[in-house]
Symmetry: C2
């Protein structure tokens, strides 16, 4: 049995709490948040508090709080030599106060409180300063059926950067598509199967091999037509830049 | 029973042939390709030919050939007043020779010969010059369980443009992610669940509401860190432009 204390009541904290509660091998000893109101609805399931002095003993203390709060909150903890992790993709492990043993448990997934997620689809990137602590994190990942990877700080920062491209930027392309469709009274639902299939395709095929369309075909007639159709200057620029990028990747000539 | 003749042996033609063959309500009378070798493996399932003079009579003739070949092939057909459609997103219906009744059957999906696809996930955009022909296309779509939409020429050109954003450009973002990960010896598999979840999320939530990350949070520290981490000038520019686009969409301040 692995015992944990969760600090924070946001997206990550809430999903972790649910995953831990489902597992027979994990026990949540305390759930802390500075604003206890956000934990009230869980008060029959777990010991909740907004007082750091009342945190119970546990194998792992998980700081699932905003990036900027990690340093201060870790310093405020009234104990030493326990095992502490944060959950951020972009914060160094050394940001945690060194009076405790330190590590990172970074879930590479987009987590929102109101969207359900199966933790077998949440890869966990693990990093610890001490080897024995890594074993504890591995056991925790296994207990909630998450795939896990030992990742260095540098790799984690890179992963976070890549996540921006394939999550935030991809989502913005969806948004642009939605906006352009709306303007012509086209139902965005028409495009949803294509969005899914595009993501499905690269599960078993490299994105390099999956590429199609006017850019890779060097179909200048269509590219020109599209640039003319686009009215928003920002979208025109995105079209040009990504077309150019595809052509560079595939050794086609420049626009 | 709807009878069809298919012209072309590429991605679209092959998927349509398979979908029609599965349906009890569609009969493929002839499958034509200029290069008959590509059809040889189907010769026990359907009448194949490379001779336009030998096409059998059918309710619909489907030209699933390259955009540039549509005009010439439609002119070369040795009959009149039949119902002819092409399958392109970017070619006008008027490109088809006017000696026949004309229409469009544009599948908004990424189709590759070797990837299986269920036609219930292939929305069909329908356009015809004559109203009675539209009914025929609707029946055909229903016979293969495809969702279908009546779409004007202008809407279809826009849809094709949107498809470039959410398919080709999204796939290029995956590719960039793959490349950046590879350079740091990070297994791309770690990122596949995030790719899927990003696509899943917008099936039930608008991309506007689904957005997260440093751009929308206006987290300049992280944005600067990422720009420093990116070595490729083209990728830096894509990062800047899409960050800016997210901030514009969400009324955040300019970079
Ligand atoms: N969401 C994701 O998809 C995701 C994925 C991977 C990693 N992460 C990382 O996980 C961490 C948490 O993200 P999240 O999405 O769960 O954030 P969130 O939903 O915004 O929740 C942030 C939590 O941090 C607490 N907090 C903020 N400032 C604090 C302070 N000064 N002292 C104490 N507590 C403070 C908030 O407390 P109040 O409730 O009192 O405001 C809240 O409970 C971040 O490091 C993030 O980078 C997030
Ligand atoms: N693939 C997709 O995801 C997709 C999605 C929506 C719409 N479309 C549209 O569907 C159409 C077909 O696309 P595709 O992906 O199936 O193309 P494809 O796989 O490249 O196949 C093209 C077919 O056109 C034939 N062809 C080319 N030039 C010809 C000519 N001058 N005369 C006669 N036949 C000729 C080729 O014949 P040979 O075999 O003899 O070379 C081949 O059978 C295009 O209009 C495309 O824009 C494609």
């Amino acid at each position: 049995m692995i015992s944990v204390v969760i600090l924070g009541a946001g997206n990550v904290a809430t999903h972790l709490f649910k995953a831990f509660t489902k597992s027979d091998e994990v026990q949540v000893k305390t759930w802390y948040n500075r604003d206890i109101d956000k934990l009230k609805s869980y008060k029959n399931d777990v010991y909740i508090t907004n007082n750091l002095a009342l945190l119970k003993e546990a194998d792992i203390y998980i700081l699932a709080v905003s990036d900027d709060a990690i340093s201060k909150l870790s310093s405020a903890l009234p104990f030493e030599n326990k095992f502490l992790v944060h959950t951020s993709g972009s914060v160094s492990v050394h940001t945690l106060d060194k009076k405790n043993r330190r590590g990172v448990l970074y879930p590479i997934q987009t987590l929102s409180k109101d969207a359900e997620i199966d933790f077998s689809n949440v890869p966990l990137c693990l990093e610890t300063l001490e080897k024995t602590d890594l074993k504890t994190l591995k056991n925790l990942a296994e207990a909630i059926d998450s795939p896990y990877y030992k990742i260095s700080t540098e790799q984690r920062l890179t992963l976070h950067l890549v996540a921006i491209f394939i999550n935030n930027f991809t989502n913005q392309l969806y948004r642009i598509g939605h906006e352009i469709a709306d303007a012509k009274h086209i139902d965005f639902n028409i495009l949803k199967p294509l969005i899914l299939e595009t993501a499905n395709k690269v599960q078993n095929m490299s994105p390099y091999l999956a590429q199609t369309g006017p850019a890779i075909r060097n179909d200048e007639k269509t590219i020109k037509k599209h640039l003319k159709l686009l009215e928003n200057e920002n979208y025109k620029e995105i079209y040009r830049l990504l077309t150019h990028s595809i052509q560079q990747t595939h050794g086609r000539k420049k626009l």
